[in-house]
C-alpha cells in the first residue's frame, strides 16, 4: 500500500536511496532499540518459560497439564470466558448500536463510560464487583432472595469477565457501524423488505466479522484475567478457581514445575488466540473492501 503512495510523490530522486541501500546500512538506532528491547523484554522471558517446561519432560508435563485440578481450572476459565464473550457479543453489539444510531441525553457519558474497564485498575474492579454483587450488596441483594449467589461463585467470575471484556466488543464494532450507510437500509425498505429481512440480510452480514473479532479479543482478555477475578471469586479448586490463579497458587507453594506447565498451556492458547484474531481482522478488512 505504501509503495503505491510513494511513487507519484517521490519522482526521480527518492528511488535511488530507497532501492540501492543494502539492508545492513538501513539498520539504524530505531532498529537496534526495537529488536534489542523485544528480545530482552519478551523473547528471553518466553524462552525461559519454554525451556523450563521442556526440562519437565513430556510425561510429567502431560500428567500436570491434565491433572483433575488443572482440568477443572481450564473448564472454569475457558467456559466462563466464552460465556462472557458471547454475552458481550450480544449486549455489546446492542450498546454499540444504541451509541451510534440514537441521539439521547447522556449518550456522551455512556460512550465515555464504556472505556472504564480499560482505565480502572483490575484490583479496584474486583473489589467493587465483590462488594456490589455480594449477598448484601446493592445488586447482589436483588438476586439473593432467589437463592442466586454471585460474588465468590462462578457467577462472580463471569461478572468480572463480562466487565473486563465489554469495551473490546463495543470499540471494535463502533467504527464499522459508523461507516455503514443508512441508504442501504432505506433502499431495502423502499423495495418492500420487512424489518426482519432488512436486519438479517442488510444490516447483520457486514457486522459479523467485527462482532467475532470483538468476541475473540474479549475472550482472550478474559482467559488471562487475574486481578478482578481473584477478588470476586473464592479461588476454591473445583469450584471457581481459574487457571491464572492456579499458577499463582503453585508459585506460592514453590511448585515451579506445576506453575510452568499450566503457564505454558495458557501461553500456547494465547498464541492460538492471537492468530485467530489476526485472521478475523483480515477477514473483516476484506469484507469492508468489497
Amino acid at each position: 500500500m505504501a509503495s503505491t503512495l510513494e511513487v507519484p510523490i517521490s519522482g526521480a530522486q527518492i528511488p535511488k536511496f530507497q532501492k540501492s541501500v543494502p539492508f545492513y546500512k538501513r539498520v539504524s538506532i530505531p532498529w537496534v532499540v526495537t529488536i534489542a528491547y523485544l528480545v530482552i523484554m519478551l523473547l528471553l522471558p518466553i524462552s525461559a518459560l519454554l525451556t523450563k517446561s521442556i526440562s519437565v519432560g513430556p510425561a510429567e508435563f502431560w500428567r500436570i497439564a491434565t491433572s483433575p485440578v488443572a482440568l477443572s481450572a481450564y473448564d472454569v476459565t475457558f467456559v466462563t470466558s466464552l460465556a462472557a464473550g458471547l454475552i458481550n457479543g450480544l449486549m455489546g453489539t446492542l450498546v454499540a448500536w444504541v451509541l451510534v444510531r440514537y441521539e439521547f441525553p447522556g449518550r456522551k457519558l455512556m460512550d465515555a463510560a464504556v472505556d472504564l474497564p480499560f482505565a480502572l485498575p483490575t484490583a479496584v474492579a474486583g473489589l467493587v464487583l465483590a462488594t456490589v454483587y455480594s449477598d448484601k450488596g446493592w445488586i447482589g441483594q436483588l438476586f439473593a432472595p432467589f437463592g442466586i449467589k454471585i460474588a465468590f461463585t462462578r457467577l462472580g467470575v463471569l461478572v468480572a469477565m463480562i466487565f473486563i471484556s465489554l469495551p473490546f466488543i463495543v470499540r471494535t464494532l463502533q467504527p464499522v457501524l459508523q461507516e455503514m450507510e443508512k441508504e442501504a437500509e432505506e433502499a431495502a425498505w423502499a423495495l418492500g423488505a420487512t424489518d426482519r429481512q432488512t436486519f438479517l440480510k442488510v444490516i447483520l452480514p457486514p457486522l459479523i466479522p467485527p462482532i467475532l473479532t470483538g468476541v475473540a479479543l474479549g475472550f482472550s482478555r478474559a482467559v488471562g484475567e487475574y486481578g478482578s477475578v481473584i477478588l470476586v471469586s473464592s479461588a476454591i479448586p473445583f469450584k471457581d478457581l481459574i487457571a491464572p490463579v492456579l499458577i499463582f497458587q503453585r508459585l506460592e507453594a514453590y511448585d515451579y514445575a506445576g506453575a510452568t506447565v499450566i503457564g505454558t498451556v495458557l501461553l500456547l492458547i494465547s498464541l492460538v488466540m492471537l492468530f485467530v484474531i489476526n485472521a478475523l481482522q483480515q477477514w473483516g478488512r476484506r469484507y469492508a473492501a468489497k
Binding site: 505504501a2 522471558p45 451509541l99 463510560a113 480499560f118 491464572p244
Partner: protein, 280 residues
C-alpha cells in the same frame, strides 16, 4: 425523511429505539455505573475522616511510592521503545514485518500472571540470569527491580500501537522533503515527525500510564507481597480487603478510581483533538 412513508419504519422508530436504549442503559448500569458509584460511596459513607486515616497509613504511602517509581521508569522506557518500533514498522516494508507486529502484541495476549511467571523463571534464584545479577548485588524477584520489569513488560505495546497508525497515515513525504532540504535525522524527528504524531503519542503515553499504575497480576507474582516494601497500590487494595480492612481497601481504591476518571477525561479531550485535526 424518506422512511416516513414506510409503515414498518415508523413503528420501529416509535417503539424500538427507547426500548433498545433502555436495555443498553440497564446493562451498563449493572456493569459500570452502579459499581463506579459504589467505589466512592464505600470510601466516604463513614465520613471523610476515615478515608483520610486510611490513605495516611505508612503502608499505603509506601505503596504509592512504589507505584510511582514503577510508572516513572516504565512510561519513559516504553515511550522511547514505542517511537522506535512504530517508526520501524510504519516506515519499512521487510520480511517478517507481520511477525514482528505479532511479537509486539504478545503482552496484550499473554496473561499477566504468565508474564510474572516468566520473569520469576528468568530472574529468580534458579533462573538463567538471576544468579548473575545476584553476584552483582541486584535482586529482581521479591524486590523493586522485578516489579518495575513486570510493569514495563505488560505496558510495552501501547505507545507503539498508538503511534504506528498515525505514522502510516501521515506518510513519509514530509520527512523526505525535509531530508532533501538538508535536515538531519534528529531535526526531522523533532520538527517534522513529532509534531505530526503528538496526539497519538500522548494517547499512547496515557494508556501506558494508566495500565502501569493499575497493573496487578504480573506485579503480584514477582512482588512477594511484603507490606511496606514490595506492595504497589493495587496489591495494597487486595491485601487490605483480604484482611477485612474495608476502609483502607476502598480508600486506596478511590485514589486509583480517580486516576481512571482522569484518564478517561484526558482520553476524551485527546480524541476530540485528533478528530478535529483529522477533519482538515
Amino acid at each position: 425523511m424518506p422512511q416516513s412513508n414506510v409503515s414498518s419504519g415508523i413503528r420501529a422508530d416509535l417503539i424500538g429505539p427507547p426500548l433498545l436504549i433502555g436495555v443498553a442503559v440497564l446493562y451498563l448500569a449493572l456493569l459500570l455505573f452502579i459499581p463506579a458509584v459504589a467505589v466512592f460511596y464505600e470510601a466516604f459513607h463513614k465520613g471523610f475522616g476515615e478515608f483520610l486515616k486510611a490513605i495516611a497509613s505508612p503502608d499505603f504511602l509506601s505503596a504509592v511510592r512504589l507505584t510511582l517509581i514503577a510508572t516513572a521508569i516504565s512510561v519513559p522506557l516504553n515511550t522511547v521503545f514505542g517511537l522506535c518500533a512504530a517508526w520501524v514498522l510504519a516506515r519499512n516494508q521487510f520480511w517478517g514485518r507481520s511477525l514482528l507486529i505479532s511479537i509486539l502484541d504478545l503482552p496484550f495476549a499473554i496473561s499477566p500472571v504468565v508474564v510474572g511467571l516468566m520473569l520469576v523463571l528468568l530472574y529468580g534464584t534458579n533462573g538463567w540470569l538471576g544468579p548473575a545479577f545476584n553476584t552483582l548485588g541486584i535482586k529482581f524477584i521479591f524486590n523493586t527491580p522485578g516489579i518495575v520489569l513486570a510493569t514495563v513488560v505488560v505496558t510495552l505495546p501501547f505507545v507503539a500501537r498508538e503511534v504506528m497508525p498515525v505514522l502510516e497515515e501521515t506518510g513519509p513525504a514530509e520527512e523526505e522533503a525535509a531530508r532533501t532540504l538538508g535536515a538531519k535525522d534528529w531535526q526531522i524527528f523533532w520538527r517534522v515527525t513529532l509534531p505530526n504524531i503528538r496526539w497519538g503519542l500522548l494517547y499512547g503515553v496515557l494508556l501506558t500510564n494508566a495500565r502501569a499504575m493499575g497493573e496487578f497480576g504480573a506485579v503480584a507474582v514477582v512482588s512477594g507481597n511484603i507490606a511496606g516494601k514490595t506492595q504497589t497500590m493495587p496489591i495494597f487494595v487486595e491485601e487490605a480487603y483480604k484482611n477485612y480492612q474495608t476502609e483502607a481497601a476502598f480508600g486506596a481504591a478511590t485514589i486509583l478510581a480517580l486516576l481512571a476518571v482522569v484518564t478517561l477525561v484526558l482520553k476524551e479531550i485527546l480524541e476530540r483533538r485528533t478528530q478535529r485535526k483529522g477533519g482538515h
